[in-house]
């Protein structure tokens, strides 16, 4: 049985616009995530929409301000 994962949803209204984060959906696979995103975020006539599995997002740490410092670093 497949587990549910969170997928981030990105979309743009017009070709050439920036693609922006519009929300997220939880789904058991990518195929289902795409359909959930289409149905859930249908308030606009999107030119482009994509989903990214949250686990595939690469966090960019460089330049991020540190809010905590630990002694074991």
């Amino acid at each position: 049985m497949s587990d549910t994962e969170k997928y981030e949803v990105f979309a743009r209204k017009n070709q050439g616009d920036d693609t922006k984060h519009v929300g997220n959906v939880s789904a058991k696979n990518g195929r289902l995530a795409k359909m959930y995103a289409h149905n859930t975020f249908d308030e606009e006539d999107w030119d482009y929409m994509a989903v990214v599995r949250q686990g595939d997002l690469l966090e960019v740490e460089h330049g991020s301000p540190r809010t905590t410092v630990t002694t074991d670093e």
Binding site: T4, N29, N39, D42
Partner: protein, 253 residues
């Protein structure tokens, strides 16, 4: 008045009635899904199916069908929907394994219509149906892993009922009346093959076996050409009351 062959009017009526009942079933089950996303999908599909029905009823009116009759002033046995939609027994997995084949079959029959004056409408419906059918397939894939026996048992009932709706295998390239009349460009036999191949491929790598499905239905001798089914039955009087808005009449006074 009608410029379509009589068989074509009944063909479109069956597609429209299937969409009417599909929209009703989607609405009934739209708060019963396992996730909020599934509920939103069901609600969205319900609205879109009703929109398709409005378009198809308008065309049927142009062919001489009475508007009140179309809107529901008729007996249950005068609704020519896929018989699997008459009653859905079970829970959400059974619901999905019932509506998915019915929705796909209705789209295949609609897509086979070869009329310039319907091209735009069919293209628009197809854009929406893409998402319905893709969602159904994606959901059937996950349900096949989670509830294989329930999905298999349901499909063994609903796939033959839906094959009956599509029509008999004898309606091939040489003997399909609507193909002969130029109303459609694909024979019923070809649609049957495409439909069966789709589900065989979808479940090929899943725990669900379609070996027990009777793909030969309907026997042409038993087939009701108008209702596109074998046997009697129909939606309930309660369904008709809800479809016609009769239950809401007291609030409109």
């Amino acid at each position: 008045m009608s410029d379509w062959p009589d068989e074509a009017v009944e063909y479109v009526q069956a597609i429209a009635d299937t969409k009417l009942v599909l929209g009703h079933r989607n609405a009934q089950w739209s708060l019963a899904g396992p996730s909020l996303e599934d509920d939103i999908g069901g609600s969205s599909a319900a609205q879109e199916e009703v929109g398709h029905v409005r378009q198809l009823f308008r065309m049927l009116q142009q062919q001489g069908r009475d508007d009140d009759w179309l809107q529901g002033d008729r007996d249950p046995t005068e609704f020519n929907n896929v018989s699997a939609l008459d009653v859905i027994d079970g829970e959400w997995p059974e619901y999905v394994a019932t509506i998915a084949p019915a929705d796909r079959a209705a789209w295949y029959l609609l897509d086979a219509i070869d009329r310039n004056d319907m091209d735009g409408m069919i293209t628009k419906i197809g854009e929406e149906e893409y998402f319905h059918l893709e969602y159904h397939d994606a959901r059937l894939e996950t349900l096949a892993e989670e509830y294989p026996s329930r999905i298999q048992e349901t499909l063994e009932e609903t796939l033959p009922q839906t094959m009956a709706f599509i029509g008999p295998s004898t309606y091939d390239d040489d003997a399909d009346p609507l193909l002969d009349a130029g109303f459609t460009d694909t024979s019923i036999a070809s649609i049957r093959d495409s439909f069966a191949d789709h589900y065989r491929e979808l479940f090929d790598d899943t725990p669900v076996s379609l070996d027990g499905v009777d793909w030969t239905v309907p026997d042409p001798d038993d087939w009701d050409e108008t209702r596109r089914r074998v046997g009697s039955g129909g939606i309930s009087d309660e369904d008709i009351r809800q479809l016609t808005g009769e239950e809401n009449a007291m609030f409109a006074r």
